[in-house]
Subunit: 401 residues, 2 copies
């Protein structure tokens, strides 16, 4: 692609301002973010498939479903407001309406999201004081602070922007996201907020967002877990005055750009996985069909034995092929080829061609690919995973303390 990412964020896009502050939900760090659009936005969203859904997610999902226009997204970190029952639902509604009031909006113009510990009530006093403080703090360059305020165990902020050349001018995409957890969407909530100044109706916006999320955030799961709070929102305020409609060349260009920005964010989340030291692309090709390709890639990406072998830079292709073997996909083990980057490891009929020293060098790189050719058809996919380290165990064995 001929797009280059910039060190921007949601506020690199015309008509959006944002802020990130500390309101005391966390001990010291920033924990409240607000994104605001000067003009009303259409919105598309994808939400966790977990049966247990956090209160703010349900509130936001309902608005997105109604396809009404919105102007703000308020996000807190440090507390997920999940598994908090009726009271938690009331807290979510109050969080929304209090923010709307301070912004001079209707509650349904404000989307909300939360991430953090499950099962504890939101400290509403702190949150409301925070809302009072964050509204006047909104600014044109506030996107990175917002990115900081939505972090949980993330070590780095995640934000990007992209200028997209269309047939008659250009539009912008900006994003902030947070991951954490060994991988998103592994319970440790994955959140992504994307802004654009293109003019796109909400039906078209959904059609653009779904395949982009499926090709990115939905391919970085390690054990198929999805959090109670996972959410990706795409807002379009039309400030560029450039309209994108279905079945046009611009639609395709925008779709590709959106998918790419989502993939970059997804990879950033994996790279910053808890305790992770490696970012690994799992490329599966020549699967019998798309479902099989994803089953195999997911199974390898999720295997704790593969992930610990990666950590040890151990060319343990046996664990890779065994993970493929129990994925449920249909293939003949004798036809499988495995390589690490461009280094051949396994040829058909279990012809082992790996040079252990060279393989260990590839596996020691911060970023590399595991390539599996199933020789069973022509479907392919790419997933992303990270290694599983002692540090991951340390982080997650005392996350709450």
């Amino acid at each position: 692609m001929n797009q280059s990412f910039e060190e921007g964020s949601v506020t690199s896009v015309q008509g959006y301002i944002a802020a990130g502050i500390a309101c005391g939900i966390k001990k010291r760090k920033k924990d409240l973010a607000l994104i605001f659009s000067n003009s009303p936005c259409t919105v598309a969203g994808t939400f966790t498939l977990n049966k247990v859904k956090a209160a703010p997610l349900l509130v936001t999902q309902e608005i997105v479903k109604q396809q009404t226009k919105v102007k703000a997204v308020l996000i807190n970190s440090g507390n997920a407001n999940a598994c908090t029952g009726e009271e938690g639902h009331k807290d979510a509604l109050e969080m929304q309406s209090y923010c709307a009031e301070k912004l001079g909006l209707q509650p349904i113009e404000v989307l909300i999201a939360s991430t953090g510990v499950i099962g504890q009530r939101l400290p509403m006093d702190k949150l409301k004081t925070g809302i009072e403080q964050i509204v006047p703090a909104l600014k044109h360059c506030g996107g990175k602070e917002a990115a900081e305020a939505i972090m949980t165990t993330d070590k780095t902020t995640k934000h990007l922007s992209l200028n997209i050349k269309l047939k008659h001018g250009s539009v912008n995409l900006g994003v902030i996201s947070k991951g954490s957890g060994m991988i998103a969407p592994n319970m440790a909530t994955m959140l992504g907020f994307i802004t654009t100044d293109a003019d796109i109706d909400s039906t078209t916006l959904h059609e653009l967002l779904l395949p982009s999320v499926n090709a990115s955030f939905n391919k970085i799961s390690v054990d198929g877990e999805t959090s109670t709070n996972d959410m990706v929102l795409l807002l379009a305020n039309g400030a560029s005055k450039i309209k994108i409609e279905k079945d046009t060349e611009d639609f395709q260009i925008f779709q590709t750009a959106l998918e790419n920005i989502c993939i970059e964010m997804a990879k950033a989340i994996v790279s910053d996985g808890e305790g992770a030291t490696r970012l690994v692309s799992i490329n599966v090709k020549n699967a019998k069909n798309q479902k099989d390709a994803d089953l195999v890639a997911k199974s390898i990406a999720n295997s704790t034995l593969v992930k610990t072998a990666i950590y040890g830079a151990d060319a343990n292709w046996g664990r890779i092929i065994s993970a493929a073997g129990h994925s449920g996909a249909d293939f003949n083990p004798n036809d499988v080829t495995v390589s690490f980057d461009n280094l051949p490891v396994l040829q058909p009929n279990f012809n082992i061609v790996v040079n252990e020293d060279l393989a260990s060098k590839v596996l020691s790189k911060q970023e590399f690919s595991i390539n599996v050719d199933l020789g069973a058809g022509d479907a392919k996919t790419t997933w992303w995973t990270c290694d599983l380290t002692e540090e991951y165990v340390r982080i997650n064995s005392d996350y709450r303390t």
Copy 2:
């Protein structure tokens, strides 16, 4: 039940002898085991569902399918003879026929199994020298040595026996097994070899074994992985002269005993999971149906976030309910109850009743239960899991070196 386990093994059963020796596949430790029955045995077996199956497993599975009688089981550790192609298959057949020759048997009277590293050829010279040495080493009390010789990263040998009182006399069950891996059957192969002196035809033997394995070894998976080599075999030599037939009271008594001995072995495997410090029973009740009960229990047992929280003795019920929520089972999150042992943690409508200090005490015990009531029906199940520790990561990041 009114059966008590004894510190026995496969050779605590009439008519079986065994041995375990070091033949040099591993650097120092015992790595070759042989179980021998004086009279021909019927045999039942369950085998990995992994698409990638080790050569010895395929050889043994074929014999079990033919329902012919066998007299010996030869097992090596240190090398799985998996993903070794045509050559590996020839090695497996040679391992079988060479052992048969030394025992004065036909090859199809000898079952074989392997466990250890994947993708490396068996050192046939060492193995054959080992076979020559192990045949004369067979002895009446050799079961525990055999248990030692099938270990890989196991820290303890796993063996038991049980005397079963039937209507007209008693029969015996003996078992040796090996686990390793965070959990069996997580690629790190799970093997179980069970002997009985009851007289049972092979069809009936299969009907006894399948539900026992399903209620035990198949409920300790953590991430649904199954190794290329997983296998449980049940041999019956009839030495007790007591016949067990279908649809009899004795069948029921024997079935219960077999299930119990399998559960004890399964729990021993989890307890000895790589780096594990806790053995946790996951009891799910009032699920909509059996499938849902197992989906929820498996999802909790497999969750790396639940397992790290257990390690940290962190009463993080949010991770438990979220794991239940993404399991695919149908239930209303508001109806869920959670307890640790007898300590209430969560009541319906997300009424959080946990005393964190008391909960942390329960979670610090070497053995405890997580009990989840879904309030959606009347199906129930029990799975077993262990915690996920830094030690697990250390072991698995350099298993081969």
